[in-house]
């Protein structure tokens, strides 16, 4: 067995026993990258030599892949945008500081430009392919992260999730992805898409790795006013805890129209399995689901339109070479530097904040947001976790959906409510469909109930043995 096939906790065991060192691990992954990257296109920046050099100082470090919207000092951070094609951050994101001592960055991973998209087709540089089937998308926006983990090109990775951008690609690529509670992981150094929704989270091969990586990145940060001050926990302690009498709610709104039948059946099978394992499963209702998508797109785009104002071609980033005055520096640099989806969302966000529309859209959406939070609160008085599909469908063919933005947005129906409410959710593989594509399911927990999610996810993973049964086939 190759080292790159192992999970991080398996690698860690070997490191602890001094059977291997970080150089062995990094070499194994570099070989794998050399073998698969041409097919997958997961990386925007690879740092093979630099990573190897770092193994000299960090003998027990584990390599990692980082989504390219997380600032890494001295390494390009492009957000998959022409706007930041050559941008080198002058500072490290707080998560990078947290990781630095025992991690080695293998590279920066592809994504939808500024994390806006659900297929990684909006990267300005390349389209990442799904390791299970190279004609399919890996999901998005953290498509590079999910594909790299699924293809064993990195042992684990960081992604970011604003409306499903960790969970949906994890689901499409048959790996594990966690969107932590808002505030659990510092956002300092995450290039902002929608400040009130963004969270950095792990994408890993299994649930145990997910808990280990969360241990490393979670924690209060004085540089992020929205970071929570709850005390540090050891999430690996939740691994292996009994789920007997765990109360699981199945919100019926997630099993209605628009959800693919095969997906629906797979998730109901997951529910059955949970019942067999001693959990109590009940149908419930999350009434605000129907409004969540509109609410999400209004809030996310409004914040994005403001957050992306700083890309003006003055202090950093792309600057148009043909301008005649100050206004043109802005408008030309921004028009030439941003891709079509980013522009669409900036326009939408500017529209909902503009005079005359603010109350009807932005303010109204913030009220509905309160209702969504209340809805979750009500359910978590009764249930420990909620079980839903992660995405209405499995990964689709490259180039088939991106022309219709609204249709694209509607596919986020299963994931956005979680971000609006700020609660945590984990996606893990359930099974594969008739075409051999992974189907993922999502467990949603109450604020800061990551431990419950890990216990429930781990129990299922042990029972289901997805990783033992199925492997990406790189189908052409």
């Amino acid at each position: 067995m190759e080292l790159y096939e192992l999970t991080v906790h398996e690698l860690q065991e070997k490191l602890d026993k001094k059977e291997i060192n970080s150089q062995d691990i990094v070499k194994s992954y570099i070989n794998r990258i050399d073998e698969k990257e041409l097919e997958i296109n997961a990386f925007i920046t690879t740092r093979k030599e630099a990573a190897l050099n770092e193994t000299m100082q960090k003998e027990n470090a584990i390599p990692i892949g980082i989504k390219d919207n997380i600032c890494t000092k001295g390494i390009k951070t492009t957000c998959a945008s022409k706007m930041l094609e050559n941008f080198v951050s002058p500072y490290d994101a707080t998560v990078m500081e947290n990781l630095n001592n025992d991690s080695i960055i293998l590279g920066k991973l592809n994504m939808d430009e500024f994390a806006m998209g659900a297929a990684t087709e909006y990267s300005a540089f390349k389209k990442t392919r799904n390791p299970w089937n190279l004609n399919k998308v890996p999901g998005g926006s953290s498509g590079g992260s999910a594909a790299a983990v699924a293809a064993n090109m990195v042992p684990w990775a960081l992604g970011s999730d604003t409306g499903g951008s960790i969970r949906q690609p994890a689901s499409f690529c048959g790996v594990v992805g966690l969107k932590p509670t808002y505030g659990l992981v510092s956002r300092y150094g995450l290039v902002a898409f929608a400040s009130s929704l963004d969270q950095i989270g792990p994408i890993t091969k299994d649930v145990t790795d997910c808990a280990i990586l969360l241990n490393k990145i979670a924690g209060t940060d004085e540089k992020d006013s929205t970071s929570s001050n709850i005390e540090k926990r050891d999430y690996t302690k939740a691994i292996g805890k009994s789920i007997k009498d765990l109360k699981i709610g199945l919100p019926k709104e997630y099993f209605g129209e628009g959800i693919n039948e095969e997906v629906k059946k797979a998730i109901l099978d997951v529910a059955k399995k949970y019942e067999q394992m001693g959990a109590i499963v009940e149908e419930c209702s999350l009434e605000t689901t129907d409004y969540a998508l509109a609410t999400y797109y209004i809030i996310a785009c409004a914040e994005a339109s403001s957050n992306l104002g700083r890309f003006d071609g003055i202090r950093y980033g792309y600057r148009s070479s043909n301008f005649n005055n100050l206004k043109e520096i802005y408008s030309k640099s921004r028009s030439e530097g941003f891709g079509p989806e980013v522009k669409r969302r900036i326009i939408l966000g500017t529209y909902v904040l503009s005079s005359g529309y603010y109350d009807a859209y932005y303010k109204k959406a913030q009220k509905v947001r309160t209702l969504v939070k209340q809805d979750f609160k009500r359910l978590f008085e009764k249930y420990d976790v909620l079980l839903t599909p992660t995405s209405p469908t499995v990964a689709f063919d490259i180039g088939t959906k991106s022309n219709n933005p609204l249709e694209m947005y509607l596919a986020d129906i299963c994931t956005v409510s979680v971000n609006i409410a700020g609660v945590p959710a984990i996606s893990l593989p359930a099974t594969i469909n008739s075409e051999g594509m992974p189907i993922g399911f999502q467990l949603i927990g109450n604020h800061f109930a990551e431990e419950t999610l890990f216990s429930a996810a781990y129990a299922f993973e042990q029972e289901n043995k997805f990783r033992e049964k199925y492997k990406p086939e790189f189908k052409k």
Partner: protein, 98 residues
Amino acid sequence: MNISRDEIIHISKLARLNLTGEEIEKYTKDLEDIIGFANTINGVDTENIDESITATEQSNVFRKDEVKEFDDKEALLSNAPSMEGRNVPPSKCFIIGR
């Protein structure tokens, strides 16, 4: 939902985006679709519901008034597009245009 071309032009100016005719057509249509869909929230009864003003429940997150200088000031300037190959005083400023 009816959104006019002029409105899109106005919005794009506010956002400092210089759109081509084709883009204006496309975004007008897209925005009509998306805003039309967004109007679904108008049906929600939000009477007596407060807006979610902040994402965090925490309040009074403050910093002490103590100076900490950033340690790599050169790096702050090194991404500036205007400084490449130009050496006009004052060199530590971001330079715009001619």
